[in-house]
Amino acid sequence: MEIVLVGLNHRTAPLDVRERVSFTLEQARRAADELRSRGLLEESLVLSTCNRSELYGVPPETSHECAPGLSSFLSEFHSVRPDVLNGLLYQHYDRSAVRHLFRVSAGLDSQLLGEAEILGQVREAYRFAHEQGATGPVLNRLFQGALETGKRVRSETELGTRPMSVAAAGVKLAERVFGKLADRTALVLGAGTISEQVVSTLRDRGVAHLFVMNRSRDRAEVLAQQFGGSVLDWGNWENALLTPDVVVCSISAEEPILPRKVLEQAMAARSNRALFLMDLGVPRNVEPAAADLYNLYIYNIDDLTEIVEQNRHARESEVPRAEAIVDEHVGKFLSWQASVELVGLVDALRSRIREERAAFIRARLDGMTLLHPGERERMETLMDELLEKLLVEPAERLRGEKELRRKIQNVEALRDLFLAKKDKL
């Protein structure tokens, strides 16, 4: 029983290669089926995200030669010349394959350290392969372990808690002021790429009402339509600033769009109800002098970038804790695997000894004609009892004692020692 992994990711392969070998759901299903029908793998699973394409499997024989087969399968399946993938693919077996998957699911292998999506993607890939019947006892256990690892890393470390983009940091800060944004209103000034990112984050966080304002109304309407907001006329600040709790501006303009005077009037009109201003424009859209107005929270692009930078450090400092959790789960999985293998080994040993005994008795006792049949039977029983006694106790201990199983690292060697090659499981 071995686990094999062949794949590539953002570290090893450029985007254009990753695009060529990525799998759609339907392709993943077909590939998993083909891998098994061709006899390359007994259990198979395809994990494909924008940053990685990986084939996981349990090969039918314990040979180290199945990875090249999987590599050529990958290039054949996607009609990519094998030399394109040369040097871009990594291959892992057993412990290192398990570790790789667990790190992936923990977000440690992601381009954006600790990102949350990958855990969902691993879960989806597993669910899909499981429903399709492509996985078996080993991959089931492996992927359940991976999901457990991912969940624990997310709940027990801060690897994924701090926002890592300017948009996410801004929205999280707004939540520091208002709590949940579910019954809040947001106004977005500008309809460029940054605005779109912020709007999307705001929508993710459940903001109730969304207004868009832009010099060119057409673009504002596109954005509003895309995210289900309404468009306001440009320039009517008095009205526009009356209701929103969060205002995001990213307009390219020489002069501040929101000078102190406008904001002062707006705050008076709102009776100083708290207002969170995210100023993403360069040069700034909000006059810095407005920062001292009561209940106004202003964050500009530099403030937010600095927060993202701090968060990146905070995330990096969590890596050792996350790695420790990964190691713990890798150990757990390997000891499960070893226990299954060890118990299998002991069973094989018992059946082999039984055979040997039968042959032994045939060879030795057949000549002893004086032996009474009753005595002969008794000798056989005694022999059986002795052999059982020798094997039953270790078998029981292997089943019961975790620590013992952990100590026996190399099941393969034990198998070689006690069982001839032909008897291998």
Binding site: S155, E158, T161, R162, V177, F178, N272, A274, Y294, Q310
Partner: protein, 272 residues
Amino acid sequence: MPRLFLLLTLLTYALSLASYLRFLYAGKALAGRLGTVFLGLGLVAHYFALLERSRGLHTVPYHDLYGSLSLFGWLLALTYLGLEFYHRQRSVGAFVLPFILLFFLSAHLAGAGSDRLPPTQAHGVVFAFHVTLSILAYAAFALSCVLSAIFLLENRLLRNRHLGDVVWRLPALDLLERMSQSSVLIGLISIAIGTVLGFIWVDRLTGQYWYYDPKYAVTLLVLLLYAVYFQLSRTSNWRGARASRLNIFNFIVVILSFTVVNLYLSHSHRYF
């Protein structure tokens, strides 16, 4: 036996504080839940510690400074736990528990005073409720003061854009404000009922409804100030830092009422 409950209370409160701190800094949800569980256990142990004391005194233990302080700590813990359940927010625990511990420790460990006190006229159910409700009110005011202080701290960090690690763990400003308001509301209701009961008791005792004690004026002032806070903190103009500052100012008046008024001016109010 009484010592056992004291030690148990101390231990559970300390564990609760440690768990809440861990929750605040490491963000582990389990640590937060443990904080609540230990606080609940601490409340039970503390209750039995107080019960032991009341058995000795045959009334709620507020006749001496130690008992009053301990009761205050217990009611503070109770109010906080109520708020925690109502607002589903645990990150304030780490700030409140030190005060609970402080009151408990100063009451019980600095020396428990004598168990037998000279008999006073102050007995009866009405009187017991008068004192207990008043102490509950002050505990609620103290809690809301702590909440306002956290609000001001977090607001300052957010306004100056100096975010440490803690900002991400603290409750949102909006929630702190609502928690502080709920706490003041509890205080207002209890102090109103408590004061009315006090007048009824005086009436029964002396047959006259009103005899002057400076404590009355101060208590009415406190009631008024908190009513003003409660009203203003819900209007837009005052919402935020202004209301929080007013709330802290109110509590300073409460402390003055405890110290200067009780020690030098009032005849009938020794500790609360």
